[in-house]
């Protein structure tokens, strides 16, 4: 009987549910995360606007890690495999997810991309998300960290305009800093803006072109990966419901 509005309609039933609408994605993400942690792969969800320099940062990261650690990538794009091709040319094993019209990657797409991709051999798996400062922010993929690339050509107020994305970031990479002498971009202004949308603002300045800041970014990754490895014994709940090739 309906007691919500007091109409007493005997055929009306009101139920309180409180279901997270993203619960299906969250379960798939938790599944991915378990696999990554179990195997010791450090997964990064790299987000940012189109043209923020995500692929260029990955190319520079691969050069810096060469011979030390194994880096692989899953690149999401609406059309084409161009980013994945660029990464392969840089020696990074890469799978492409062509989303068609979807503006973001979800945990299931990443899970499917893992099949047939030698991700177990990696130390770092970077998921290069679709270039977009809105939609990717709400989908957990199973990553260990969210990293947002923000280029100095984009404007200092981007964090205030896109607070959802920056709130979810564990690290912001301020990219293309070699261009700073040619721009009116004030780094202090973007740092101030980030402090108003990120409770724990962490920012690193990098240039894929000059290599500036890349060692610091790689050191950040190595530190976080070491922290994940240390935390593993307590976190892993081994499950064996299917195997990945």
């Amino acid at each position: 009987m309906c007691e919500t509005c007091g109409c007493g309609d005997p055929n009306k039933v009101s139920v309180e549910v409180h279901d997270r609408i993203l619960s299906v994605n969250d379960r798939a993400a938790a599944h991915n995360r378990e696999h990554f942690v179990e195997v010791g792969v450090f997964a990064v969800n790299l987000m940012g606007s189109p043209g923020a320099g995500k692929t260029a940062v990955l190319e520079a990261t691969a050069r810096s890690l060469a011979g030390r650690s194994r880096l692989g990538a899953i690149a999401g794009d609406l059309e084409t495999e161009r980013d994945a091709d660029r990464l392969r040319a840089a020696g990074v094993p890469a799978a492409a997810i062509t989303t068609g019209s979807a503006c973001h990657l979800d945990a299931e797409m990443v899970h499917k991309a893992l099949h047939g991709f030698p991700w177990r051999d990696l130390d770092y798996l970077v998921v290069e998300n679709v270039g977009n400062l809105v939609c990717p922010a709400i989908y957990d993929l199973g990553q260990a960290v969210n990293v947002v690339a923000l280029s100095v050509t984009e404007g200092e107020d981007k964090p205030l305009k896109y607070p959802v994305m920056f709130r979810k970031a564990d690290l912001v990479l301020l990219t293309k800093v070699d261009l700073l002498p040619h721009l009116d971009f004030r780094v202090e202004a973007v740092l101030d803006a980030l402090g108003r949308v990120m409770p724990r603002p962490e920012v690193l300045r990098v240039s894929a072109r000059s290599g500036e800041g890349i060692p610091g970014w790689v050191a950040w990754l190595e530190g976080r990966r070491a922290a994940q490895a240390k935390a593993v014994p307590a976190q892993v709940h081994p499950h064996r419901h299917h195997r990945h090739p």
Binding site: N11, K12, S14, V15, V17, H18, S23, C103, D106, P199
Partner: protein, 121 residues
């Protein structure tokens, strides 16, 4: 527009509850969407109209909004919107209290036969 895929996911959840309760149709669906959830309520409502079929054909959508509320996790002092997200007193990062919800909260259904005290599923 990710709102469409969210509405699709919500429709699946509503249909599941409708089946569980043996409902003929759904009259009303209430969702909570936070200001920092990354979901645009207007787009969500538009996407909902595109998913209205089956038990949802006649359903009304109620969107309950919640503001972004930040507070200090130690002393509970409110951190006003737009301020630096750090407690000036305790010097610790602020915590989001409300504002990131994307939640299906309530469903009102029309049942074929009289049903009493339906437990939540």
């Amino acid at each position: 527009m990710h709102e469409y895929s969210l509405v699709r996911a919500m429709a699946d959840q509503v249909e599941h509850h409708a089946r569980t309760h043996n409902a003929a149709s759904v009259r009303r669906v209430a969702v909570r969407i936070g200001a920092l959830s990354g979901v645009e309520p207007e787009l969500f409502a538009t996407a909902f109209t595109l998913c209205q079929e089956g038990v949802l054909a006649e359903a009304e959508l109620e969107i309950r909004r919640s503001e972004a509320v930040w507070a200090c996790p130690k002393c509970s002092a409110a951190i006003p919107a737009g301020a630096v997200l750090r407690c000036p007193g305790c010097q610790v990062p602020a915590r989001l209290v409300t504002g990131d919800e994307i939640v299906l909260e309530q469903i009102e259904m029309e049942v074929a036969e009289v049903e009493r005290e339906v437990p939540d599923v």
